[in-house]
């Protein structure tokens, strides 16, 4: 009997998969692009992401659980799809390495200015190698345990309640200089990662689609609560001036025997970032495996990790990284919408053809 991913494991996996690094600068982004009370924008973006996920769920249902490669290749010859596949792989590996890079830059900024950059890259590559080697099942199991540790830090926010005041929210909505489109792209990138779930189809139990929604919902709740708190905790201009407001939030919390807990929080956050990176690498590995079925999967792992390593070494400064992350996220958002729509179209065409055949 083949092992399948259970919905509970899946929802935790999906929650860990989503790009959490954006969370650290999310209050500033929403304040910059959406003006006062910008935290409400996350609810709108959540609705958009839900539409995206619904497409994936519909594909699963209509395709009756077939993997998307089967669906696509039933209608379109492989050699046409290969460049598109390579494009997707490139974007995914790129975004994974850029996220690694961004995390390392922030870490070095805050805590370890002098430690060599390559050391962190090696650590992340090692950890991703271990996870990729075990396949998706081991990854899911490990992520359940890691999830518990990452979410422990949420409890620290209780220390913020004494300083929280509703009056700082102001009664203005979305006023100030705003750029809705760019802002929407930035906030959407906080939910990225979920599009890789389109490749899960052959490995899941029957009723798994609710796991997608649950995982996404939990993510949204966490983002929303932290945003809400930070808008009430900080004044508006203070958020605009602070690059990583959530980091300051954790700096403020003080446990009696440990101060400056943000060090621990950010280190634990490495697990979440690791999950995002590994899922992108895994997605790339699956597509590569599909292009050429004869080569052993381990070879792809080495190739992908090597590329990821080299790409992560490229940026020199945090401005560079942010620029690249922005561009790659936009492309990834594009893929996240385009790929399901594409597969849906193919499904419809296939069902039309079948009806016509039946009619004949």
């Amino acid at each position: 009997m083949k092992e399948r991913l259970h919905p509970f494991q899946l929802s935790i996996l999906i929650m860990m998969m989503q790009n959490g690094l954006v969370l650290y600068s999310l209050p500033r982004l929403t304040a910059e692009y959406f003006g006062k009370n910008g935290w409400l924008s996350i609810i709108f973006i959540f609705v958009l992401v839900n539409i995206n996920i619904m497409m994936i769920a519909i594909i699963y249902k209509l395709g009756k659980g077939r993997s998307i490669f089967e669906i696509i290749e039933a209608s379109i010859p492989k050699w046409v799809m290969v460049p598109i596949y390579l494009f997707i792989i490139g974007i995914w590996i790129g975004i994974a390495s850029m996220i690694t890079s961004e995390y390392i830059f922030i870490y070095k900024l805050m805590f370890f200015p002098a430690l060599p950059y390559i050391l962190f890259i090696i650590l992340f590559t090692l950890a991703s190698f271990q996870l990729l080697r075990g396949g998706i099942y081991q990854f899911a199991k490990a992520s359940v345990v890691l999830f518990f540790f990452v979410e422990l830090m949420i409890f620290l926010v209780f220390y913020l309640f004494p300083e929280f005041e509703f009056s700082r929210f102001t009664t203005f909505f979305f006023k100030g200089e705003t750029d809705y489109f760019k802002g929407a792209l930035h906030v959407y990138s906080a939910f990225l990662g979920i599009e890789v779930s389109i490749l899960f189809f052959p490995m899941v139990e029957k009723k798994w689609t609710k796991a997608l929604f649950i995982g996404n919902f939990i993510s949204m709740i966490i983002y929303l609560s932290i945003l809400f708190l930070s808008f009430g905790f900080f004044s508006f201009d203070q958020i605009l001036h602070d690059k990583y407001p959530v980091m300051t939030l954790f700096e403020y919390t003080e446990v009696s025997f440990l101060t400056r807990a943000e060090n621990l929080c950010f280190s634990v956050f490495a697990f979440k970032v690791l999950s995002t990176i590994v899922i992108y690498y895994w997605g790339a590995q699956q597509i590569l495996g599909n292009i050429n079925k004869s080569i052993k999967p381990n070879f792809w792992i080495f190739l992908i990790l090597g590329c990821g390593c080299i790409l992560a070494l490229l940026p020199d400064s945090i401005v560079d990284v942010e620029k690249w992350v922005e561009r790659l996220s936009t492309c990834a958002i594009g893929i996240a919408w385009a790929l399901p729509i594409f597969v849906l179209c193919i499904l419809f065409i296939q069902s039309f053809k079948r009806e016509i055949d039946h009619a004949k």
Partner: protein, 368 residues
């Protein structure tokens, strides 16, 4: 086989760590307290004094102060590094600003403190009457370590009075917020001990006026809800002509502020305070067990609070500083466009305040 590769790579990467720098704790001079002042020289206007503990080989504890002049905060830090054998780093500290520097404007200094990731959000800020350097260098016989004393002193103040709970986060938050102005406690070292002189109120980032201790108490009551506060009142008794003292303790007060913004030219702010306390000291002769006399006393306390808070508010309006946060109230009531056009600085002095107090004495202590 693959496990072996992992292990080997992990071991090799440990060798790379020689390139990093470590901060072994006994090689560090962890700065406990910093004071910024205006120095006498023209080209290096900023003077920084740092205080850090040192431990000798025998294990005895001692603190060390150093000063340097420079144009900006980090320039002075670099100069200070050259004066000691330990590596200076910022730890949890208290930061003191000299009076003159605060009057000129603090933002230059504070901005560096924000940008530096080594400083946490809980560093305590305070103003020193005179020069901060002198406070740090003063040797008080009962105090071993000035910095730790200051830190625990300010923590105690913060626990007692919400208004006096000032650190980097509070200062920045109120500075950036256009509806409220920051405050910092004022310490003085003249005399035998380190003394809290009052509360300094800011306009923007400049220190404009100092509130006395009693005014600070009033400010506390006006700002928000108080748990476990206390109040010292001096009442003039008509019968005997003397001044009697009344001390209330365990005060729980609820505070509600309403702003009437319909008439833009002439806005009124209504402050309703609900005051409950227990009497700890009363030097007068009235028998407090009778209800009539209690009511009389309550009325006297009400009057006292009303008059003094009015005085305080007038003083604040005169200096155009708003630590209570009336601006936030007004902002939440008017639409965005009016708020952006309104020149709050000019309107603030024209506000009318109406303070209404309701006092309730919970008990009168153990005796009548």
């Amino acid at each position: 086989m693959q496990n072996n590769i992992t292990v080997w790579i992990a071991i090799c990467c440990l060798f790379l760590t020689g390139c990093g720098t470590s901060n072994i704790i006994e090689d560090l001079g962890i700065i406990q307290s910093v004071a910024f002042d205006i120095s006498e020289s023209k080209e290096n206007p900023l003077k920084t004094t740092v205080l850090f503990p040192t431990v000798s080989k025998k294990g005895t504890f001692d603190s060390h102060t150093l000063s340097a002049n420079g144009k900006s905060t980090h320039e002075t830090f670099i100069k200070l590094q050259n004066l000691t054998n330990l590596k200076l780093v910022s730890g949890q500290n208290t930061i003191l600003f000299g009076e003159e520097l605060s009057k000129k404007g603090l933002m230059n200094v504070v901005e560096t403190l924000t940008r530096d990731p080594e400083l946490g959000a809980r560093v305590k800020f305070a103003i020193v009457e005179g020069k901060g350097e002198d406070l740090l260098k003063k040797k008080i016989p009962a105090i071993e370590d000035n910095a730790e004393y200051l830190f625990t002193f300010m923590e105690k103040l913060g626990n007692q009075n919400k208004v006096l709970n000032t650190d980097k986060y509070h200062f920045l938050r109120d500075y950036y917020d256009d509806g409220i102005d920051p405050v910092l406690p004022v310490l003085s070292y003249k005399g035998k001990n380190v003394e809290l002189k009052g509360l300094g109120s800011f306009k923007g980032d400049q220190y404009v006026t100092r509130l006395t201790i009693s005014e600070t108490q009033m400010l506390n009551f006006l700002s928000g809800d108080i748990n476990n506060g206390n109040l010292m009142i001096s009442i003039h008794d008509e019968k005997s002509g003397k001044n009697e003292n009344l001390f209330l303790r365990s005060i729980n007060s609820d505070n509600d502020k309403k702003v009437d913004t319909r008439n833009r030219k002439n806005m009124t702010v209504e402050v309703l305070i609900d005051f409950k306390g227990s009497v700890l000291e009363y030097t007068g002769k009235i028998d407090l067990s009778k209800e009539k006399y209690q009511k009389q006393l309550e009325k006297q306390v009400e009057n006292y609070i009303k008059t003094h808070s009015k005085k305080l508010l007038n003083k604040l309006q005169k200096y155009k500083t708003d630590p209570i946060g009336i601006g936030t109230l007004v902002r939440n009531r008017v639409p965005y466009e009016s708020w952006s056009e309104m020149k709050w600085d000019n309107i603030y002095p024209t506000l009318n305040f109406d303070v209404r107090v309701k006092v309730n004495l919970i008990n009168t202590g153990k005796s009548t």
